[in-house]
């Protein structure tokens, strides 16, 4: 049969081109410690890995390739030299090639989602993906902003907190199920679009030994923020970083009346 080569047509033999964002963060299992000077948290010598939501994004891109919905999947990471390890993990999971936007150490701590989304937007201008999948938020700063900002900068539709991505009924759009406070919302978005992944979108695969070895040969391109013409001036200044207050002891009450009395005492109930 005849394929209509139309970027928005999911039945096109080439499939969607997907760009996946991966961030290198402190590993979720590490006990994070605040630096003695309270300027931030200790990162040196601490185990880092790919942001778990980004792993889910990578997995989704690879699955879309396997389902022939996508043709090419490219991973991108904005970060220090070690972000290359994160990209190698993505390559080992099945991504085709990678782009590393290297951030000098001095500017790393002050990097904000506004900067990252501008860098990604610039890369989208040249790479022209049909779909950008990002993790919904990074587990270090929990900002939950980059995907939304990127969509705004590109003036693309966004479908955040995705728990399912599939072709729409007419195959001309993407049907995304979103996890929202009220439950599940299903929307159709045209491509190109930005989607952010939520926890239940999928369960990421392990890399396999053969794929780890194959990943060595996959292309990994380096870029700088200067090349992309993005200004990394910080818009925020971190004044201090502190531990959360130590949990205070509670009090036991004998009856409901006691409980209500105590709540009134503390001004929590009228």
């Amino acid at each position: 049969y005849i394929h209509i080569i139309n970027k928005a047509d999911m039945a096109a033999s080439k499939g969607l081109k997907i760009l996946v964002g991966c961030k290198r963060v402190i590993d979720y299992a590490v006990k994070v410690r605040v630096k003695p000077d309270r300027s931030g948290v200790v990162t040196e010598g601490v185990k880092h890995s790919m942001n778990p939501f980004d792993e889910i994004a990578v997995e989704e891109a690879v699955r879309m390739k396997e389902k022939k919905l996508a043709g090419e999947a490219v991973a991108i990471s904005v970060g220090p030299p070690q972000s290359q390890e994160t990209l190698r993990t993505a390559l080992a999971m099945g991504i085709d090639r990678a782009i590393h936007v290297e951030i000098p150490l001095a500017q790393l701590e002050k990097l904000q989602p506004i900067h990252v989304s501008k860098l990604l937007a610039k890369v989208c201008e040249s790479e022209k993906p049909d779909l950008v999948i990002l993790g919904k938020q990074a587990i270090d700063d929990d900002c939950n902003q980059t995907g939304q900002m990127l969509a705004a900068l590109l003036d693309w539709p966004q479908a955040t907190f995705a728990s399912k991505i599939e072709p729409s009924q007419d195959s001309k759009q993407l049907r995304v199920t979103r996890e929202v406070d009220g439950g599940l919302e299903t929307i159709d978005v045209s491509v190109p679009a930005v989607v952010t992944s939520d926890l239940r979108l999928n369960e990421p695969r392990y890399a396999t030994l053969p794929n780890i070895m194959k990943a060595k040969k996959k292309p990994l391109a380096k870029m700088s923020p200067d090349q992309l013409g993005v200004d990394l001036q910080p818009r925020q200044e971190v004044i201090s970083v502190e531990d959360p207050p130590v949990r205070k002891a509670g009090a036991k009450v004998e009856s409901v009346e006691d409980l209500v009395g105590k709540l009134r005492e503390k001004g929590l109930v009228k």
């Binding site: 890995s49 390890e85 392990y206 890399a207 030994l209 780890i212 070895m213």
Partner: protein, 377 residues
């Protein structure tokens, strides 16, 4: 950099699929075949076999990293995985094209499992004195005899059996592959052991067991050499399992010492106990370096490799058992309870000083190598 990725993969797999079940497999004597299938899907079933028939084509050093990582989650399972890998390698390195094409595609994904049969009731350290015979009968060998302490026996599909096709001594020994369900092949009762409970260990009995001669690996009389070459790698692998046990035990002890208080102080604040941790670290790290050196000597084809492998096995299994033992002591009374993990690392790593050549045999090999080099610069 890929070695780090490989190690991370092994650790992540262990955290998710192995460590949570370690206690249960030991208590209920479960041989975790499902977990092995998952491990093999990642390429852990034939790590240093050639890629041609499904092997991962990696090095002995990569294998050491993998077995050490998995052993932090279950020493017994990592040990069986290493035995299976050793058998797969024996076929990959010595088998004919037909044998490799037939067996590796089944062994690599661990859809069929293998056992290594050398030891007999009458010949352990004196392995070359084995008595299981393989008498020629047309296109078949007829096997008679029995093997002892065989890991996985009864649950595995392919038995690599060292048996006597010729005269006494090592030169009369050949390696023959016996498939399960071959008439004349039977098993003794499952042995009750101090550790390695997640793995059945049994006698393997041959009574007029007819095996096609096409199942012989390598020429007649080459079996003992093949068995010994398999063991060089096996020793690095078993030593790697000991490293994992010691590593996990040391970490467990450290965590406990940060939590347990006596005399108004954390255990971690007592110098005598701090010195214990430091000594344990010295034992573990020195063992690790030696084991990895032995792995690299195998990878580089160093003719002195067998002696380094014996030295690494000797040192690491003994030192790492001691680390587990010290860790258990640091836990005090709780260390003795089955609810706490160090006792399992201790029990499971104890046998590493015994199998794949006792540490006394390791001393023999190392001494022989040293004395034999008298006159070298």
């Amino acid at each position: 950099a890929e070695k780090r990725q490989i190690q991370e993969l092994a650790f992540t797999f262990t955290q998710n699929e192995v460590a949570p079940h370690m206690q249960k497999w030991d208590a209920e004597h479960i041989f975790p075949v499902e977990m092995f299938t998952k491990a093999a899907a990642l390429g852990f079933g034939a790590i240093y076999c050639k890629e041609e028939h499904g092997g991962s084509g990696l090095s002995r050093l990569d294998a050491s990293l993998i077995f050490e990582a998995i052993a932090t989650g279950c020493v017994t399972s990592s040990a069986y995985l290493s035995i299976h890998n050793m058998c797969a390698w024996m076929i990959d390195s010595t088998g004919t094209e037909e044998q490799r094409a037939k067996w590796l595609p089944q062994l690599a994904p661990m859809s069929r499992l293998a056992s290594y049969c050398l030891t007999e009731p009458g010949s352990g350290s004196d392995a070359a004195a084995l008595k299981t015979t393989a008498k020629s009968d047309g296109n078949y060998y007829v096997l008679n005899g029995s093997k002892a302490f065989i890991s996985g026996a009864g649950a595995t599909d392919l038995y690599l059996v060292m048996c006597r096709t010729g005269a006494d001594g090592p030169k009369g020994i050949s390696c023959v592959m016996v498939e399960k369900d071959t008439p004349g092949l039977s098993f003794g009762k499952i042995e009750r052991k101090l550790g390695w409970n997640a793995q059945p260990t049994r006698e393997v009995v041959f009574e007029n067991c007819r095996v096609p001669k096409s199942n012989r690996l390598g020429p007649e009389g080459s079996g003992f050499g093949l068995a010994m070459r398999g063991l060089n790698g096996g020793r690095v692998n078993i030593a790697s399992c000991s490293l994992g046990a010691a590593h996990a035990s040391l970490l467990a002890a450290r965590e406990y010492m940060a939590v347990r208080k006596q005399f108004g102080k954390q255990l971690a604040e007592f110098q005598a106990l701090q010195f214990q941790l430091a000594e344990m670290a010295a034992q573990l790290v020195s063992s690790r370096l030696l084991v990895r050196q032995a792995a690299q000597s195998l990878d580089s084809g160093d003719p002195g490799a067998p002696a380094v492998c014996a030295l690494a096995k000797l040192h690491a299994t003994e030192q790492c058992f001691d680390v587990c033992n010290r860790a258990l002591q640091l836990f005090g009374g709780y260390g003795y309870l089955l609810d706490f993990p160090v006792q399992q690392y201790l029990r499971d790593s104890r046998v590493n000083c015994i199998l794949e050549g006792t540490n006394q045999v390791m001393r023999m090999l190392v001494a022989r190598d040293i004395i034999g080099r008298l006159g070298d610069a």
